[in-house]
């Protein structure tokens, strides 16, 4: 019998903590170094080496926890999670068991226009593993190479309750989480660089049943859309197995993104006993309230709140406000530019447009982020002022903007040096209009016979005569008056 099933999804998200040095030693966390360059006696586990906790990493986890409404456990501890693998030099990972730094948080997401609160079980602090290389390019090696640059970088692991019910909800949750964490600056969250990784637990159960179905863990998902696809595939697979009268087993499956399927990796029977025990090398946490309160004060305005404020204070549309507040750097850029604007109310909308269209297009084309923008906030504000006070037209503004982007140029100087100032002198425009009318008898005749669109050709001629510098509003106004008479 074909039944209706409900999907039950839980996420385990690993985010690399954005700190200068690793979590238990002083090595750099920078990405892209020569293999094993960012290592020391601690992260390669030489005899006698002892981990030393990076306070900044603890602060990042707590900040993240506070932003997500977590309870901070002031007396948290570290534990050793033991398993043998070459990428983990001690053959145990320093992580947290009970209690983690943060317990019981929540993240509201919007599902089909309605808010749904997803409860988050915990966030804990742990260290990352190194990387093993089994092939160079397409060439398989008959040995393995080990790079420990990543070993010991701080990770925060966030585990949700099994409260997500569709691939879209999981996708929405991760996007929302990513946005908040990026706002906090506690992780860069880039899945491409492996700075954010996510394992998914999926089960299905007939609608209305209380007991959970058999849980399958999916690993090896490398993108946000991959998460959505992997869950969608796995939910369908489980339904099919059940509908065809089969049974599911508790197992770990790998997502094969190219084939778009999950494949069994190991069953529950093969699960490891990690032999956790308290880490004796590190003293248990004893976090003073003042420490936590200080961090609470450092939490910036969260994206949703900021979006609402942008709509209210700057009169932006939902679309523009969403775009601007999707990442903190863009929102910061916008507000900084606005702070340089003379007429804030008038500039707000125009500035938002320029950032979301012109500037964004440039960033996409040159694959850079707004923090590397060659156009400073101050210069963009100047450009907007030049448009607003009629010094240049929108069209000229685009030409000026090219210069600003290519050469980080000051728009006022570009306009001055290239003589791009808009002509708003009525007598000069009048003269050009008269010339244009006398040279466009066909268009004039058409206009007078009621074909109003014909005026465009005459406007074009005026603009050509003025090298594009005539104030288009004035041109339109004067031509209309002239042609009526």
């Amino acid at each position: 019998m074909m039944g209706d099933y409900e999907a039950i999804i839980g996420l385990e998200v690993h985010m690399q903590i954005n700190t200068k040095s690793k979590v238990f030693c002083e090595c750099s966390t920078q990405f892209g170094f020569e293999p094993n360059l960012n290592t020391c006696v601690i992260c390669t586990s030489q005899p006698g080496a002892i981990p030393i906790l990076n306070k900044k990493a603890v602060e990042a986890v707590i900040k993240t926890g506070l932003a997500l409404g977590f309870t901070i456990n002031k007396e948290s501890t570290f534990a050793r999670k033991q398993y043998f693998y070459p990428d983990i030099p001690k053959n145990y990972q320093i992580t947290q068991s009970e209690p983690p730094l943060c317990s019981k948080g929540r993240l509201p997401i919007i599902v089909k226009g309605k808010e749904k609160v997803i409860n988050i079980t915990r966030i804990h602090l742990e260290e990352d593993a190194g990387k093993l290389l089994h092939e160079i390019g397409s060439r398989k090696l008959d040995y393995s190479l080990l790079d420990l640059n990543r070993a010991g970088i701080g990770l925060m692991e966030l585990v949700t309750e099994p409260e997500l019910n569709s691939p879209e909800e999981a996708f929405e949750f991760l996007n929302e989480l990513k946005s908040i964490v990026e706002y906090l600056g506690t992780s860069e969250c880039s899945m491409e660089e492996g700075k954010m990784r996510c394992d998914v637990n999926v089960s299905v159960r007939p609608v209305g049943r209380k007991e959970y179905g058999v849980r399958v863990e999916i690993k090896n998902i490398n993108s946000l859309s991959g998460i959505r696809d992997a869950i969608a595939y796995e939910v369908e697979r489980q339904k099919e197995v059940l509908n065809s009268g089969g049974g599911l087993i508790q197992e770990t499956r790998l997502w094969e993104s190219e084939e778009g399927i999950t494949k069994s990796m190991r069953s529950k029977e093969g699960a490891l006993d990690y032999r956790y025990f308290p880490e004796p090398d590190l003293v248990p946490f004893n976090l003073p309230d003042s420490f936590i309160e200080k961090l609470r004060k450092e939490i910036p305005e969260m994206p949703k709140v900021r979006k609402a404020r942008f709509m209210k204070d700057y009169g932006l549309t939902d679309y523009d406000a969403s775009y601007l507040t999707s990442t903190k750097v863009v929102a910061d850029y916008y507000e900084e530019a606005l702070s340089y604007s003379k007429d804030k109310r008038a500039s707000a909308k125009l500035l938002a447009n320029w950032i979301s269209t012109e500037l964004n297009a440039k960033f996409n084309a040159s694959k850079i982020s707004i923090v590397e923008s060659p156009v400073s906030c101050q210069n963009l504000a100047k450009l907007i002022s030049l448009i607003l006070d009629g010094t240049i037209s929108w069209k000229i503004a685009k030409t000026v903007f090219e210069e600003m982007y290519e050469k980080s140029a000051d728009p006022e100087r570009v306009v001055k040096e290239k003589g791009l100032v808009q002509i708003s002198d009525e007598s000069a425009i009048m003269k050009m209009c008269e010339e244009a009318i006398s040279e466009s008898s066909k268009a004039v005749a058409e206009f007078k016979s009621g074909k109003e669109k014909a005026i465009g050709a005459i406007v074009g001629l005026v603009m050509k005569k003025s090298k594009g510098q005539a104030n288009p509003q004035l041109v339109n106004k004067i031509l209309a008056e002239k042609l009526k008479t």
């Binding site: 006696v41 390669t44 586990s45 030489q46 005899p47 006698g48 080496a49 002892i50 981990p51 030393i52 906790l53 050793r80 033991q82 043998f84 070459p86 030099p89 001690k90 053959n91 145990y92 080990l146 006993d273 032999r275 956790y276 025990f277 004796p280 090398d281 590190l282 003293v283």
Partner: protein
Amino acid sequence: MDEILKVKASELRTKVHSGEIKSVNIIEACLTRIKGTDFKVKAFLKLSEGRSLKQAAHSDEKIEKGEKYGFLEGIPIGIKDNIMIKGESMTSASKYLENYVSPYDATVIEKLKEAGAVFVGRTNMDEFAMGGSTETSAYQKTANPWDIRCIPGGSSGGSAAAVSAGMVPFALGSDTGGSIRQPASFCGVVGYKPSYGLISRYGACALASSFDQIGTLSKNVKDSALLASVISGRDYRDPVCEPREGIDYVSYIDSPDVLKTIKIGVPKQLLNYKIDAEIAKHFNEAVEKLKLSGTEIVEIDVAAYKYVPALYKVIMCAEVSANIATFDGIRYGYRTSSSKNLNDEYAKSRAESLGYEVKKRILFGTYVLGAKNYYKCYHQAQRVRTLFINQITDAYGKCDFIFSPTTLQMPVKFGETLMEECDIFLTAANLAGLPGITVPCGFANSDMPMGVHFMGSRFSDVKLFQVANAFEKISGFDMNKYPEL
């Protein structure tokens, strides 16, 4: 035996620094003594002959020229082979680390280098400090200088034998469950284990991290205090190291009336054990001597002593199983020459290079941390540890120091085993993080020495030295007597 070798370190210091004797002469005397007797004792794994002499000459030059010199400038010292000296081999008496070269200095070594001490050689020990006889060393069996048919004790047997035989005036050891104090007692020297967290563990090859402490072995109490003054104090590289400044223990050590002001507690539980008759006799005499000096003796009741061997074994082995896991043949150390795959490589590298005692402890530790056994073994042991600490704390409400024979047995012949309870009054100090010192108190009819043990409350190390020093003066033990070799 050169008379210069009978001069204690604190006096040598004065003589060398005043120019009365040359450091070179002392080092030469040490090396001659080692060459002439160590073929019988086998205390040293490696001598640094050339470097020691060169360093001594440099020290002499500095002193002669009136340049700035260190606190222990030109004074020889033996270093247990589980402490890192940059650029030198460090085997921990294991085949696994046969060709390992330390890439860094332990904190204590850094401090000793700054103080100008001369590292004469590396002393033998039980493999990874696991053992109480120095017989588990992968390289050689060290003999007790008082009777070379007997064990010197362990694991710091090499250091104890070297000091006892007059090869060096003092030496570093490490103590996890009695590993300094038991061999010190067997060899008739002073052995001191500081309060947990007084001396940095950074650079000492870990055995059981929550018990390990570096400590000292010397002919008299004052020399241990001298050495402790140099190596103790805060170290950010060891998180469990207390943020206390180093103390000049020597300047406090002479306190003539200290014995009149303290209460000494003798555990009632001593009666529960089969104590060697001569040890019992000497211990009772020591108690009488203390009484005659005006010390108040009280009986204390610490019922949980009976759990000490079991709970030590569980927690120590658990930590061993994780700490030794890093020795996997991947990054350094012994690697098997033939292996089929990764797991085979791990298994063979470890099977071929680790000794029986080490394997036994790894297996036991792995067992007690397994998911099925964790609560009834490891967790239970931690609970009992807390119970034990509470009872000891209560006992310190009645007395200032706990007094016992150092060992309950005399040193045995090679191949014979000591009873499990032999060191329980020493292990007690490690379980509770307390300082302990053994002071020789006499010779048995066999001409083998024995000692008594003072255990203080945490960070009572200054007073512990005072009491031990005062007892040494009334012990009747002739510290100028050296074994005939």
